[in-house]
Amino acid sequence: METMITGKALVLACSAIGAGLAMIAGIGPGIGQGYAAGKGAEGVGRQPEAQGDIVRTMLLGAAVAETTGIYGLVIALILLFANPLVKLLG
């Protein structure tokens, strides 16, 4: 028996794959932030009087680095729960 794949089913399946791929963007900032914190801890160990400067610089860098992860999350959630492509099918 032949199974028909409807356009909507195909779009939903591809959207789910796209959402999964977009979530990969969330891993990078996590690894990066952890690496930066490790290096920051090393720096503070080497030069304890610079702790304030190190934390401040790392705070700004980490806050900006998180942005790309949030963008990926937004794309994934929109593809899953407010998919604009399904509406295009009519």
Binding site: G34, Y35, A41, V44, G52, V55, A62, A63, E66, L73
Partner: protein, 139 residues
């Protein structure tokens, strides 16, 4: 109050000012501003909390050994990431919250950091058009 907390407080004040500007603009230009304003306030409140939590995490991480700090910072990042995900999900599902407002509210603080640290520096704009080959060091 240490310097990091002062810096965080300054950014939160800037965030509040930017929020007020966006709310005024929404009431002037949008047909249904209330949903956008709800989203904006929701998103920026959570991003402010995340920013404070990030500061606390890093302040604690630098006192640990490097290996422990790495794991601790990554773990805390994923906790914040899940919180962000829940906030975005709620704003997508709830009809009275505009998701665009939430996204803008969440990213305002990043643009404030860019504006106060990068775009206020004239040297940054000069360096865009400067060729490395023209520098006196010859690199």
């Amino acid at each position: 109050m240490d310097e990091t907390r002062k810096l965080q407080r300054n950014y939160l004040i800037y965030l509040l000012i930017a929020d007020i500007v966006f709310v005024v603009l929404a009431f002037i230009f949008l047909e249904a501003p209330l949903a956008f304003v709800y989203g904006l306030v929701f998103g920026s409140a959570i991003s402010a909390l995340n920013f404070v939590e990030l500061g606390n995490t890093l302040r604690r991480a630098v006192t640990m050994s490097p290996a422990k700090a790495q794991g601790y910072a990554t773990r805390k990042y994923f906790v914040r990431y899940i919180v962000t995900g829940v906030v975005l999900y709620v704003s997508i599902v709830a009809p009275y919250i505009n998701v665009l407002g939430t996204i803008i509210g969440m990213t305002i603080i990043k643009f404030i950091i860019f504006a106060t640290n990068l775009f206020n520096d004239k040297q940054y704009y000069k360096n865009i058009f400067k060729r490395k080959e023209d520098e006196p060091s010859g690199h």
